[in-house]
């Protein structure tokens, strides 16, 4: 039988039983769509988190108080106790290290901000003028913190966009005096709104000079020291030097942890990449189920069309032709199902992106290829057995079933 005839015969055979065909195509397409949508979710999460981490700055090296057993990023770092405090002088010492472009000490706490009778709780970040460029923050109005001695706490503040809106409404904020805690500070700048970023909403942040923040919270310690290396290549060296300088300053004790943005990025990338892979694996189970369904449908087809198979044999069809006809039909079911599922999955991912614009829910190429490939291979594989069964039927027995 010619190829075009085989294809047409298989197509007509599939179209001859619309409900059965539709159901197996549906099952296959749901399987493929599940792979596409779930991996789009997983990979979207990965891109989102990696993007958020990348946006906190470039070539960042972060010093935090306390020592964790191993290097690299460890969630336990967030809750370690502080054996020896990090101080502003520690931060200033790091400025001298080679490969360091900028350093920003960071002290944080919560306080209240009020203006014109309006009052709200805010997160206060104490830092220096370089904090804004290190964190890639931009200003919409005014200027950043004054570039003067770190130990001088000038009574000024840079406020987030949300705080500006809530306290000042449409009025200009720069130059106004606000009360933060028990101090009166002059607003010198307003941050550009950026929205949520890794738990810290910069739109609701008040940035003050680090010495002022320490005075307000009555403490000498720093929450973090942020270091920006001159280049990506300089990051490992900067990390080493920072550790060395701080060990010397802390009497030979290595009681700080230095992490790099790269390490965090790599960790999250790997973590969420593995998650995506796992999700793809779960979705692949539905593909296998769909493959088994195609096999079932084809076995039913062989039983239902036994008389027809006997006829084909009587009309001179060799076993190969019958095998090929049924295999083609199975392949057609899974191909149409796979393509339909791909379209379904892509439109699902598109809908996700429409509803959550910040979430880059694009299915990764490998998942699409693997999904379509698995669908076709399982369809064919599970089509082999019914096709062989059809080809092996005894023509006399088959012709009697009509």
């Amino acid at each position: 039988m010619r190829l075009a005839d085989t294809l047409r015969f298989a197509r007509d055979a599939a179209a001859g039983y619309p409900l059965r065909t539709a159901l197996s195509v549906l099952a296959m397409s749901i399987g493929v769509a599940a792979v596409v949508i779930l991996t789009a979710l997983g990979d979207g999460a990965r891109r989102y988190v990696v993007g958020q981490f990348a946006s906190i700055g470039t070539n960042l090296v972060i010093v935090l108080p306390g020592r964790s057993g191993t290097g690299g990023f460890n969630p336990a770092n967030a809750i370690t106790t502080t054996p020896r405090d990090l101080t502003i002088d520690d931060a200033a010492a790091l400025l001298r290290a080679a490969g360091v472009r900028r350093v920003a000490p960071l002290a944080v706490g919560t306080s209240e901000i009020s203006f014109g009778g309006r009052l709200r709780e805010v997160m206060v970040a104490g830092s220096v003028s370089d904090f804004l460029p290190i964190r890639n923050f931009e200003l919409v109005q005014g200027s950043g913190l004054p570039d003067d001695d770190w130990s001088r706490g000038a009574p000024v503040a840079v406020i987030g966009a949300t705080i500006r809106d809530e306290l000042f409404g449409g009025e200009p904020a720069v130059g106004k005096l606000v009360r933060v805690g028990d101090r009166r500070l002059r607003v010198v700048g307003v941050l550009k709104p950026v929205g949520q970023g890794l738990g810290l909403n910069t739109d609701e942040l008040v940035i003050v000079p680090v010495a002022l923040a320490q005075a307000m919270f009555n403490s000498n310690t720093l929450f973090r020291i942020l270091i920006e290396a001159t280049s990506r290549e300089a990051i490992p060296e900067v990390k080493e030097r920072a550790l060395e300088i701080l060990r010397q300053r802390h009497r030979g004790e290595e009681d700080v942890t230095v992490i790099t943005q790269d390490a965090i990025l790599a960790t999250f990338d790997k973590l969420l990449g593995t998650l995506t892979l796992g999700v793809a694996g779960i979705a692949a189970i539905s593909l296998a189920v769909a493959g088994i369904l195609v096999m079932n449908v084809m076995l039913v087809a062989v039983t239902q069309r036994t008389g027809e198979i006997g006829l084909l044999k009587a009309l001179g069809a060799p076993a190969r032709t019958i095998r090929l006809a049924f295999l083609t039909e199975a392949a057609m079911l899974s191909t149409v199902g796979a393509l339909l599922g791909y379209l379904l999955g892509e439109s699902g991912a598109f809908a996700l992106r429409q509803f959550f614009p910040v979430f880059p829910a694009y299915p990764p190429d490998w998942a699409v290829i693997a999904g379509l490939g698995t669908a076709l291979v399982t369809g064919l594989l599970f089509g082999v057995m019914p096709a062989r069964r059809a080809a092996r039927l005894d023509p006399v027995q088959a012709l009697m079933k009509h």
């Binding site: 039988m1 010619r2 007509d12 008389g307 006829l311 084909l312 001179g316 069809a317 060799p318 023509p395």
Partner: protein
């Protein structure tokens, strides 16, 4: 010249412990262009003989020579090729593929044989005209009358221009009038030179054949023949 030569054909079916001899030591010779009716009671081996002649079944022993060639030793695919090129089947229940139109059903043997679509269409058009089915080309079997269905089946059986047509109770599902039409059609094919072998219960139909073979218990009980007319 002998079209069919059967020598010592045995066909045994195993039913539980009992061995049933459907065909027992059968010898038969049928010449080119003959018109043969195979008759006999149920279980006498008529259908087994027809399946064997159509290469749908193999004997347990004995030889079957078709056009001088021993076909019992051929592989399944070689036998399929012989069926495709030399043998046409007409069944009691028509055996049309329900989802295909009359034209597609007639073209099916040519499609299976890999004949190009252009030639198929030309031959199907001739067959439709020859069997009075021009207006039924695009009808599916369920839109056709019994007589029309059997005419489509006969057109399908002859489309590959076989040397032999095997008909199993071709009028069994038809009323007398359409049955007569179908028999006339088959006889006209025979008149054109095709060897026709009909299995039937119907005495009247059997009487029309020039040669009648009556079977009993897997053997030929007796034969009779009369002059054409």
């Amino acid at each position: 010249m002998a079209l069919i030569e059967l020598k010592g054909i045995e066909r045994v079916f195993q039913l539980g412990d009992a061995a049933v001899h459907a065909l027992a030591g059968l010898d038969l010779r049928i010449d080119n262009g003959e018109y043969v009716a195979v008759m006999g009671p149920s279980g006498s081996g008529k259908s087994t003989l027809l399946n064997l002649l159509g290469l749908l079944d193999r004997p347990n022993s004995g030889t079957y020579r078709l056009e001088g060639r021993d076909v019992t030793t051929l592989s399944a695919d070689e036998q399929a090729r012989v069926r495709s090129e030399r043998i046409g089947f007409v069944f009691q229940s028509f055996h049309l593929v329900p989802r295909l139109t009359a034209a597609e059903n007639i073209a099916l043997p040519m499609m299976l044989a890999g004949i190009p679509a252009r030639e198929r269409n030309a031959r199907v058009a001739r067959a439709l005209a020859g069997f009075g089915l021009e207006n039924r080309a695009d009808h599916r079997p369920d839109q056709l009358s019994g007589g029309q269905r059997q005419r489509v089946a006969i057109a399908r059986a002859t489309i590959m221009q076989p040397a032999l047509i095997l008909a199993d109770e071709p009028t069994g599902n038809l009323d007398r009038h359409t049955g007569d039409e179908v028999v006339n059609l088959l006889e006209s094919l025979n008149a054109g030179g095709v060897t026709l072998i009909v299995v039937t219960h119907d005495q009247a139909m059997g009487a029309r054949a020039r040669r009648r073979i009556v079977m009993e218990d897997g053997r030929i009980d007796h034969e009779s023949s009369h002059a054409p007319g």
